[in-house]
């Protein structure tokens, strides 16, 4: 899981163009400047590329925090 969070952190840096962001499982949109609905989708597309997975729209819409996102990625990575 820590590998997933570390890789996710890199994606956050790229998408929000801010290397100072440090995410944790409890991080939400309120903690990251500019994390609105459009940037959320941009983030998801970049995560899909980084992890080689694909999300459905209902999964993307329902995510409450980074912890849920990391869990979803882990579930997707399982064969």
């Amino acid at each position: 899981m820590s590998d997933t969070l570390a890789r996710l952190n890199e994606v956050f840096h790229d998408v929000f163009q801010d290397d100072t962001i440090v995410i944790a499982r409890q991080t939400t949109a309120a903690d990251v400047e500019g994390w609105d609905s459009l940037m959320h989708v941009t983030l998801m597309i970049n995560i899909e590329k980084a992890f080689g997975i694909r999300f459905s729209s209902s999964e993307v819409a329902g995510l409450k925090d980074v912890g849920e996102l990391a869990d979803l990625i882990e579930a997707r990575k399982k064969p």
């Binding site: 309120a30 609905s37 459009l38 959320h40 989708v41 941009t42 597309i45 729209s57 209902s58 993307v60």
Partner: protein, 307 residues
Amino acid sequence: MTFPLTDELMEYVRAAHPRSLRGVEEARQAGGDDFGPVVEMFLTWLTAVRGRQGIVQAVDEFVKFSTEVNLAQARYEADGHYMHKSFAELLADHYSSREAMDDYLWGVFLTNVLWAHHFEICLFYRNRFLAKLPGAEAKIVEIAPGHGGWGVWALHRLAKSRLEGFDISPSSITIAGSVSAAAGVGGRARYELKDALDLAKAPPESADAVINCFLAEHLERPAKLFEVIARLLKPDGRAFVAAGLTAAQVDHIYEFRRESELVKLAEDAGLRMTESFVGSPRRTLPKAKFLPRSMALILAKRKGEFL
């Protein structure tokens, strides 16, 4: 004036969907002094159908729908074309699911007032179309009413008018019927489960007004839609048509790229554009190639000129 339902909606968006707040605030800014009264009217109908809890449910559905739209737009940016090509694919995957369609229609219902550029289209509809319709017993046809909000708004403003709505979705017939009843105009509205394009055989020149919002891009051959509108419209009638351009959605098939494509379809069907409005979201995806737009046209029959 106070708008308690609108305040409740804003509070819920702020608390439960902070990522969507910026877009909703943009709609509030676009609406200006009209935002409160128009949103309150929509929410009054919504809560009369679904109860006070309906606001929370519809906002959740709106956020899900908007996310689906944004995700489809991002995939469109990558692929260069819409996801689906045929109506048959959509009928199997999308339109035939009753539960999904109910959620979808209530989500779309709120896009009318919670997307800034759609709020602008609402104002264009009210100020430039509804305001000019004849007040006396106008017969209105709504093609593909979906949630019913557009047509119900017309009945709400024109006290003696009557409306017939035709939609291919059972969810639409139920929801549009319940919204019209909630708005107190149910006695003047009739909704029928019917492919709107079958109206090509309907009595000609029978409607004072035709309303059709956001159907053309869901069709394989939108030319037929404009032919139906031209057939139904009386010589002095007016039609209001809205459609999306380079605006991906899982159920959009026909990719309009230029505003002139819609105007040409109308002209080829024997109609003339008298007014139009084009709106686009305040923000787009980073490095977007496509600008998603919504275009609304007010159309009249062509007469006394070369056809």
